[in-house]
Symmetry: none
Subunit: 210 residues, 3 copies
């Protein structure tokens, strides 16, 4: 059961807060690779934080999720210290579909964006797709298969694709017929991702939502 190759992978026409379209690549080509995260609990005075992870993931991807989680918490603590979401929420992060094995570090920025979207209670523009390894201090590292991912992104209705700055050469070399209708946004640090993905964020609401 591999990802479909020639049809759209768009499983979300509209994306609730917490849902972000990432991009994966396998022997069969690229595909949309959604991340969804939810809070399992109603947030109250006595809520305890937690983190659960599913989606048939390999070890590198599990570590990548814990990096995204730590980065997101430190980002919120630094940039939105009034937002208490991660002190109270029992978060569950999942990669559909459950029968498809997934691994690798390149969904790092997608997971971080999913968690921030949830913490801000802010739904993202569903025409944004992204791929990039995230380090703990927020650096975005090079990934493989940008071409295949761009093809899958376009097929799935993506208009803006965020990728690592270190992949700029791959982007430049890509044929125009693939890039047509796709806006490429290179990111060196996570803040570059943030500026694109959360460009219409109401920062006051985000800070005080929880």
């Amino acid at each position: 059961v591999g990802p479909p190759v020639f049809t759209s992978d768009r499983i979300f026409e509209t994306t609730p807060a917490g849902v972000v379209m990432g991009l994966g690549v396998s022997g069969l080509g690229g595909s949309a690779l959604y991340v969804e995260s939810i809070a399992q609990n109603a947030l109250g005075k006595h809520s305890k934080p937690g983190f659960m992870l599913t989606g048939h993931l390999g070890d590198v991807m599990k570590e990548s999720a814990s990096i995204a989680s730590s980065y997101t918490k430190s980002f919120i603590a630094r940039e939105f210290p009034q937002n208490r979401f991660f002190e109270k929420a029992s978060v569950h992060l999942h990669f559909p579909a459950g029968s498809i094995q997934k691994d690798g570090p390149s969904a790092g920025i997608t997971m971080a964006t999913s968690l921030l979207s949830l913490a801000f209670d802010h739904a993202l523009d569903p025409t944004i797709g992204m791929t990039g390894e995230l380090t703990l201090s927020g650096k975005v590292l090079k990934i493989g298969g940008l071409r295949e991912k761009a093809i899958a992104a376009k097929r799935s209705g993506v208009k803006t694709i965020i990728f690592p700055s270190d992949n700029k050469a791959d982007w430049e070399e890509m044929p125009e017929h693939i890039k047509e209708g796709l806006e490429g946004k290179p990111a060196e640090w996570y803040k570059d991702v943030f500026e694109v993905a959360f460009k219409d964020l109401d920062k006051t609401r985000a800070a005080t939502r929880w």
Copy 2:
């Protein structure tokens, strides 16, 4: 996905507090091997300490991390007793990139330096690179591959390289064309590393930052 061999491994042009350049060696030659650590939480009265570790690490390297963590805590308790960072911070230490397997004890002093940099909230000079096994009482033990590491260091913009005193003979025997532009700093105890890496540390601020 192995470490790049002939191009610069410098993934950080500037290094935030907690990020330090170590040096690794594999069958493909030497490479920069960054360590980054962050606090996941905002430090407050009720913060609980914690330690998490990622980066596709083998068992020897995991033990090495716990030695670095214990050493750093005892160092702070002895030298900067007012600094309460490790009593309150939920620390996460990571070695990018997530898909490259890493093992061995020679990043010991790099991890300790990363944790101290974070605890002092003091960013390091990004042109310092280092390699050395650390013991619990602060002795710096001999490592392998100093020559390959020095080559990788220079390629990645390092100007000062810290290595174990027991590797001095390796350093002396290294051709001048490799050492040119690199200042070698042998270290017998961690305090020798500290004096080079934190030479411009504001000790009053470091003591009272948290």
Copy 3:
């Protein structure tokens, strides 16, 4: 990376409190096998006790460490009841170097001595080396390879070697040229080890240090 065989294994010219030279033996001959222990925390009113162990150890050696830890606590409770070290200290015990696998029960008395040295904040004479299995009630049991260990001890600057009374015959049969300059101290119970290793201990300070 095996232990060096023909050169000195002395990695500590001076030994801080908590550091003791044990003696190991492998297919390559004997070698110095240091134990180091530290307190990770500053000891205060609210400090919690803990015990961590590293050094690439096999199961027998891990059990041996827990025997040494239990014995040491009971020894302090009985002989130095005012000393509260083990009620407050988060102790980490390590065997450098991290990449060398170690196993066997013969570092028992070395570990107990390391823990006592730390609890008394009393540095040992660095020319003492020791080997012996320790039982929970303080009996010192026979070990293998005394000859190889004595050779390694001498090479590493040891002047006094403590070994189990049950190995006395091995000691007697050893050629004089090996024993020359080495004082052998057979131990039947741990108190015999204690009397040699802590002969210059200030017992009042040791009792009231913590």
